[in-house]
Subunit: 337 residues, 2 copies
Amino acid sequence: MAKRYTIQDIARKAEVGVGTVSRVLNDDPNVKTKTRSKVQAVIDKIGYQPSYAARSLRTQKSNTIGFIADAVATTPFAVNLIKGAQDAAWEQGKLLLIVDADNDPARRERALESMLEREVEGIVYAAMYHQEVTLSDAFRSVPTVLVDCYSQDEMYPSCVPDEFQGAYDATKELIRNNHERIALILGAELESIYPAMRGRYQGYCEALKEAGIDLAPEFVRVGEGNAHSGFSETSALMNLPEPPTAIFCCTDRMALGTYDAVKAVGLSVPDDISVIGFDNQPVIVEQLHPPLSTMALPHEEMGHWSINTLLKPTPIPERQVLPCPYIKRASVKRLEV
Amino acid sequence: MAKRYTIQDIARKAEVGVGTVSRVLNDDPNVKTKTRSKVQAVIDKIGYQPSYAARSLRTQKSNTIGFIADAVATTPFAVNLIKGAQDAAWEQGKLLLIVDADNDPARRERALESMLEREVEGIVYAAMYHQEVTLSDAFRSVPTVLVDCYSQDEMYPSCVPDEFQGAYDATKELIRNNHERIALILGAELESIYPAMRGRYQGYCEALKEAGIDLAPEFVRVGEGNAHSGFSETSALMNLPEPPTAIFCCTDRMALGTYDAVKAVGLSVPDDISVIGFDNQPVIVEQLHPPLSTMALPHEEMGHWSINTLLKPTPIPERQVLPCPYIKRASVKRLEV
């Protein structure tokens, strides 16, 4: 069998990015004529044909898309990701065949096989938290997009939350309300497998730096993502000689513990301590007393993105970041200056 | 077209229940010989053929099951229902085609059509809370089972949580711990559309009655299912001349408000007030301080039941109730007597 050229091969030969090649293949007008000619010359020379993947989208009519999810059940808050994908699929007349691979690589492979037998038009692979994943080569035989995750080889279009921007905006919001003593409770060590925590730490640091506020090492705490650790880390913060006036918790669950710890020392949210969470888990944020201001993970938007990207003639294998908007409720108080 | 006889027709003619007919059709050994002969005689006389539904299960091989859910996205805690169905389907070599009909009857119909086009072997229709539903006749053309809901005509096998037993066991647990002043906070009016609240109210009353405890009307409160109403109803209870020593909250979200209200008057859970919730929503029960003892909704079990029932040769159109187990955590204290 002759070598199958990929979009990456063309990019290398034409000395442009894969995004540019994709835009040429998709007749995107935003490509300079000179660049387009260079790319087209390579395409003509090697006799490039869009892959099975891209072709099947045009010719096959199963109108079914495979959705492989990892561990939906243990992270119910991510269910909006499925909702977003379903809504977008429904609008385009497609149905989703869904398998929860439950973090089991063997099940993931068998799910893919079963989906290919049913001639799905493409695969959405969704992780239930932002992470790096390694997919088998079998996924290259069908258009595949990754949601809330990415592969190291960047072979697939992927989409993740903008953790940096989320944390930056949260910290900025506290600064705008005249807070300067702002603590951060991370949900895991920076060296952990969670890219979310690294991005959020950097966003926090950048917002402080821009405002000319020195980073106070005693204000940066590492919890475990749950309410229990939110409680203990907040208790430690409250015991400092000069405690913070605001706490940015990297998960809503930790914020739940933060609320309890603040009450335990006879203080209140937001009168004495302002709190911003992360995740926008409805069952927590709306039920807390007072309701928690937090940064929303763009689950539904990532779901939309996955289907809309998959159904493009030639999806671009690059990583998208989607913003985490600030959802204002009642846990931040403006300080008088 | 000749009249299509149904399993109900046979039952009526043979003067037995539909369950018995189903067991005969399924060659279940637990049918008396005399009964079997009577049923078989009717079957032979009318020339009964198992429906398209039952036949397609034997002959068609799409190995795909349609799962139509209502409003998954707004009730993430019900996601275990999907997980249970997926696991059971996976074990039997089936995949689920899932559509969230989003409480829109038109979308529900179109989902069914799309699934029939894809030759699904059957349909699971899942509501996200216990309710009565009305399905169009189109659902009768394919094996259909109902989960966390039932149809008034009882034409389909259905499965709902045992609300009575759940509330009865919760109240019993408090009585076993020597509580007698036990309040109940309902999540909605008894006359509402929620059969769950009626069942739970009856279970609470029955447990009190068995223990010889008089029902105190001032201890029965009606909230709105959310933390805010749990807070206000608990505050009202704490202001009674003789407040309760235990509160059974019909939703975990209300229990969250109950915790806050107890703390607000300077008391603590469980030292001063014992609390039991209902639903077993992970994000609440495990994160609360102390962790909440609660009654679990059998979502995963209902999911298993749906697939296993659907794949029986002739599912019995009757309503199953599945128990709501008590999940012990740390919110109930034993009173000294």
